[in-house]
Amino acid sequence: MNLQLELPGRKQSLLLPNPVMTASGTFSFGLDKGHGFNVQDLGAIVTKTVTLRPRAGNPQPRTAETPAGMLNAIGLQNPGVGALVRDIAPKWARWRVPVIVSILGATVEEYGRLAERLEGMPHISGIEVNISSPNATRGGMEFGQDPQAAAAVTAAVVRGTTLPVIVKLTPNVTDITEVARAVVDAGADALCVINTLQAMAIDAEARKPVISTVFSGLSGPAIKPVALRMVYQVASAVDVPIIGCGGIACGTDAVEFLLAGASAVQVGTATFVSPSAPIDVLNGLKAYMADHGIDDVASLVGAARV
């Protein structure tokens, strides 16, 4: 059974041992123990988003449960790229699983500088450009909602790195294919589809918003149909590999994203629900392939497209 896949890059390609990754912000930096499986067995680890300087994140409450989903407004709490380079990246030295670092800047220039800081680091295999977080006061989704700004950010990152560049798109737009085309034209090697849907919850008893920042990002099984639709649409619009993300909780979910046109998938909120979710998704994908006599995972990609 061949699970390996190559995400071809303009400067370097990203070779994944299998198509199941962790989603940014749902696996910290991959160093926590206690999830009960070997991280090295995954296709890749995508880190929590780092910014140029450390960020403390938002006040409480930061999370809320919703039907088949959750809201979060963590606010990009992270130790900053300096600490990542100095303290965290060396811990990946003996890893065989590729590590993709997620970055977010408050300005186009900051994205470029973040890419430059990661250039030449031996233990980093790719960059995921977060232009889709609904929880950044500056940067994030404001870039991802504007095709020109999204292209400018992508170009700045591509200039600053030789690593494969994945751009993570926001669903909070009228036409996701417009942004997808813009960032691919600007040099994106792959796209991650999608980040959270902007949402909110209100406490009827307290008569006020539940989350401290009022608005937040919705994730989990509730958004899977939306994510699938957007993967399908983006796959029609661009020729680069797509990484599907949004509510994936089991092997069958992963298969559905591949069939819609994704080459790989990310598991996010499901890891909060079950610590072993990423490996369970991978094992579920393998079981599906075995049951259906599929030898090469690539043969599933886009197979449901009509």
């Binding site: 910290s28 959750m70 963590i74 089991c250 909060f272």
Partner: protein
């Protein structure tokens, strides 16, 4: 963390709106200490996709108490029924299976030299302190437990506690024990103790910190914090609290903190 399926052995309303549920799953305890917690699913796992959808997230609960059962050590959870998760848990019956994993976080740390322990409970915050009290008694230490609550319905029954524990009851409305706040008892017994431990709402910790900032006797005080969390594993960053040493995660860096690092 390996998930296990724990079997409910007993489930009952103990007082007021507070329930205690016992489980047979000794493997979950491993090297657990009082103050640690577990994550527990509040829905039956679905057969096709193993994950639940609604309610989606697992819930954190402190270990309340241990006892010997026919299949090894049993553990219990003590909780107020406040939402869908606790309603679900309160309606389990013996033999029901519940998915859970643990032990998680950093529990209480009792200094070997501490002989006299002061425990302060605010409402259902008594949950982890009962195991701490029993473990301390087994270690031949003296325990004073302050039970504070708004009214009698929030007070853990003293009859459920070992006779060796000195119990002090204080309610805000005076319906049971002394009328007042647990913080006043905390100050009164601080001199006596070698080390103090507390679990309750944040305003109680703030009041305790104010006491400590005054001319109260210097004693190490550990508090067990609670914050909304999605994962319990240090990966969602939902339960971050601001401490004097920077942002910390309740699930991973806590839930036990030094009071002086928090307030």
């Amino acid at each position: 963390m390996k998930q296990i399926v724990a079997t409910v052995t007993e489930n009952a309303r103990l007082y007021g709106n507070t329930y205690v549920t016992w489980f047979a799953a000794p493997e979950l305890l491993r090297a657990a200490v009082p103050g640690q917690f577990l994550m527990l699913r509040v829905t039956v796992a679905e057969p096709d996709c193993r994950l639940p959808c609604d309610p989606l997230l697992p819930r954190p609960f402190s270990f309340h108490r241990l006892r010997e059962g026919p299949d090894g050590t049993e553990w219990s959870l003590l909780y107020d029924v406040v939402g869908r998760g606790t309603q679900w848990l309160a309606s389990r019956t013996p033999g029901d299976a519940v998915a859970c994993w643990g032990p998680l976080g950093r529990g209480f740390s009792v200094r070997p030299t501490s002989q006299q322990l002061l425990l302060v409970a605010g409402g259902v915050g008594v949950a982890p302190l009962v195991w701490l009290a029993e473990a301390a008694l087994a270690d031949n230490k003296s325990v004073t437990l302050v039970l504070g609550g708004r009214s009698a319905e929030q007070i853990y029954p003293a009859s459920q506690l070992p006779a060796e524990v000195e119990v002090i009851v204080t309610t805000e409305d005076g319906s049971l024990g002394r009328r007042g706040l647990a913080t006043e008892d905390f100050l009164e017994h601080l001199e006596w103790c070698d080390q103090a431990f507390a679990c309750g709402p944040n305003p109680m910790f703030q009041a305790m910190a104010r006491v400590m900032h005054g001319n109260a006797p210097r004693r190490p005080v550990q508090v067990l914090m609670e914050e909304g969390m999605a994962c319990g594993a240090g990966i969602c960053y939902g339960c971050a609290v601001e401490t004097k040493k920077g942002m910390r995660l309740v699930c991973k860096d806590g839930p036990r903190f030094d009071l002086r690092d928090i307030f």
